[in-house]
Amino acid sequence: SAVISQKPSRDICQRGTSLTIQCQVDSQVTMMFWYRQQPGQSLTLIATANQGSEATYESGFVIDKFPISRPNLTFSTLTVSNMSPEDSSIYLCSAWFTEAFFGQGTRLTVV
């Protein structure tokens, strides 16, 4: 199994600002993933982050809005840029070890 730590666990941000979410895995992993869960909704994949290469974004998500870093095999960050109230969501990171493990999520509120 794997333990995935995410921080911050929650934040309230002003519109127009940016927030960087950190995700730490207790084991080395090739692929990490970032998901968004809008209020009352299911999870939607934002992007796949591989170490040593650019993140791969899903349709509807762009690098300028959600830049991702993957500096090593245990760590990744997701930045939510130029935030608006529509970005209020839970953001979760995930790592694959024969199954997907998830962090506890970051609950973001944009005011």
Partner: protein
Amino acid sequence: AQSVTQPDIHITVSEGASLELRCNYSYGATPYLFWYVQSPGQGLQLLLKYFSGDTLVQGIKGFEAEFKRSQSSFNLRKPSVHWSDAAEYFCAVAVSGNTGKLIFGQGTTLQVKP
């Protein structure tokens, strides 16, 4: 394109009653299927998974699921529900096998009556 459908948005059952949550998937090859539970304010916890082999899969907390290829279904069951089972349940399919990229259903909210 791959998709997952959970037809029931909300389900209410009495404590001690049996439970079945439905999940249908659309995927061309043999799917990797998962059920996750999310309690309020909590992250996602894996209940069980199916990759291959025995189509009846046992999971944690007394849950089981049955893979039926002919019906493209992976329904979750529990013989006797406890009040602590009240949560949001998500069915998911892994895209392209074991890549870790998951497509989730819309979720089913389970309410348990005393």
